[in-house]
């Protein structure tokens, strides 16, 4: 079976980190885009299809939390995994309340990251599937009405 790569957007102001983690994710078969700021992240989301955003919560400028809020407002189907510093579990909880899928502490374990990535991807697929079904039902009812 051919695995369909997850379209990942990696957002962190640490350029070396973004570069290395994206190489690693690509090596593992994912399709990776990168952004070094919250704003760049939103620009990419507006243009490209992305399944999951990996988002550093601590960034200068538009910070991670704000970016997260904006993503969930404008692209509600996109899943977000947060990267947090340790000891900021409350930020993580706030983030989950804003709709993030999960969080990881830096430096993160790669196995764990890929595991969560799959989880997020699955949730997005299921969500999209439900929407498709709902739309189909809606269509049926409408055509039923004209019957």
């Amino acid at each position: 079976m051919v695995r369909i790569p997850t379209r990942v957007l990696l957002v962190d102001d640490e350029e070396d980190f973004v570069e290395m983690l994206s190489l690693r994710l690509k090596e593992a078969g994912e399709q990776v885009s990168t952004a070094y700021s919250g704003k760049a992240c939103l620009d990419i989301l507006a243009q490209d299809h992305i399944d999951v955003v990996i988002l550093d919560i601590r960034m200068p400028g538009m910070d991670g939390m704000e970016t997260l809020g904006e993503i969930k407002k404008r692209f509600p189907l996109v899943e977000v995994i947060m990267l947090t510093g340790h000891g900021s579990a409350e930020t993580a909880v706030d983030g989950m309340k804003l709709g993030a899928f999960d969080y990881l502490m830096k430096p993160a374990d790669f196995e764990e990251l890929t595991h969560k990535l799959q989880g997020a991807r699955r949730r997005k697929d299921e969500q999209e599937e439900r929407i498709r079904q709902a739309e189909a039902r809606l269509l049926m009812r409408k055509s039923g009405g004209t019957f």
């Binding site: 070396d16 980190f17 190489l23 690693r24 900021s88 430096p107």
Partner: protein, 393 residues
């Protein structure tokens, strides 16, 4: 009330004895000396509150005796007795530190009154001194606490900054490892060497990560929520985490806490970290056949957890240092020396106290005393506790 201790110093025996008798009747505790030398000898052995000192005496005279007294026991008050119409001497006495002077012949009531005044002054000064000592001690403690707090903030900042480069190192090594596993590299010369070295890099990163996370855990406070904690449940839960290691070492883990009786309001996550740190040290320190026991005791407003092990104990010269950051007797790579430092700062924040007793070769006992209803200290670096006080079922 304790009676005032008075030493009468006069070479005129009749006069001295009469005064002594009459002051004793007034409830004072009277000692007597016939001259300056005897007076100083008595004071050396047994201090008094007030000395009544005749100025004119053979041998060491009153003035000289006064100097000696003020030198060797400055807290003792001295009342001078001068001959009639020699106020000059009395004034000199006051200049030299006497409380006051009376001219002979004296009126007994007057003398008794002066002695009481002198005594009151002494008590006041004692209290002032005590207060001063206390304040100095408090200040020292505050300085120490503040120094630790700012050290903590600094350490947390450094730890946080280090996590980013650590993440870069980790991803780089991980990426190289995944490349090495590619089929086209199966025949690469010395592949094993590369893999070995990359493994070492990953271990090193893991070690550094443990340190930074432990440091951050100690200082960077997350908003803790207080909730009801049953100490028995908490201890059972934590013991499970150490059971495997204890079994492997042949160490017994015991807990004798009454169910349901030791319930306090606290932060369960922080408390669990405290227990994990103390228990893991105990397991490390105890050899096959040894035993680790956890007990709990509750008083009206406190609960005390006691963790005793029959392990190797902590030598006296280490006992002072075990709570310092980075003090560890474990081999590099195994101990971070942060466990007890973190433990103590958590307990501090929860309003509790930690104490340790240890005997080399016999074992160690940590006791953690916690308030049942903490009025949790706000953290100096941000972060505060939100107490949930609605106690609904």
């Amino acid at each position: 009330m304790e009676s005032i201790r008075v030493l009468l110093v006069d070479d005129e025996n009749d006069f001295r004895r009469t005064v002594a008798k009459r002051l004793t009747k007034r409830g004072m505790d009277i000692r007597q000396a016939t001259g300056g030398e005897e007076c100083l000898n008595i004071l050396k052995k047994d201090p008094v509150d007030v000395v009544v000192l005749d100025l004119k005496m053979p041998g060491m005279d009153g003035m000289e005796t006064l100097h000696h007294i003020k030198n060797s026991c400055p807290g003792t008050e001295v009342i001078m007795l001068t001959g009639h119409a020699t106020t000059r001497d009395g004034v000199d006495g006051i200049k030299a530190g006497a409380f006051d002077y009376l001219s002979k012949p004296i009126e007994l009531e007057h003398l008794a009154g002066k002695i009481r005044q002198a005594f009151e002054k002494r008590t006041r000064e004692d209290e002032k001194q005590k207060e001063k000592d206390f304040r100095a001690r408090m200040e020292q403690q505050m300085i120490a606490t503040e120094r630790l707090a700012s050290l903590g903030t600094l350490a947390a900042g450094v730890a946080h900054e280090i996590n980013n480069p650590l993440a870069i190192i980790k991803e780089s090594a991980g990426w190289m490892k995944s490349i090495l596993q590619k089929k086209e590299l199966a025949q690469m010369p010395r592949r094993g060497d590369f893999e070995m070295a990359l493994g070492k890099i990953e271990n090193g990163v893991e070690r550094a990560r443990r340190i930074t996370h432990q440091l951050l855990g100690s200082v960077k406070q997350t908003d803790a929520t207080l909730s009801k904690v049953d100490l028995k449940e908490l201890v059972e839960e934590t013991m499970v985490l150490h059971q495997k290691e204890a079994d492997q070492k042949g160490v017994q883990l015991l807990e004798t806490i009454d169910p349901g009786k030791n319930v306090i309001w606290s932060d369960p996550y922080k408390l669990r970290q405290v227990l994990i740190n103390i228990l893991s040290n105990a397991v490390h320190a105890t050899d096959a056949g040894g035993k680790i026991t956890v007990t709990a005791e509750t008083s009206e407003d406190h609960a005390t957890l006691t963790i005793s092990d029959s392990g190797r104990g902590i030598p006296g010269e280490h006992l002072k240092k075990i709570f310092e950051p980075f003090f560890s007797t474990k081999p590099t790579g195994e101990g971070t020396g942060l466990g007890l430092f973190v433990t103590r700062s958590i307990i501090d924040k929860l309003g509790g106290e930690i104490e340790v007793e240890s005997r080399v070769g016999q074992g160690t006992q940590f006791s953690v005393k916690l308030p049942k209803h903490p009025d949790v200290k706000c953290n100096s670096n941000k972060g505060s506790y939100k107490g949930q006080n609605d106690e609904r079922a």
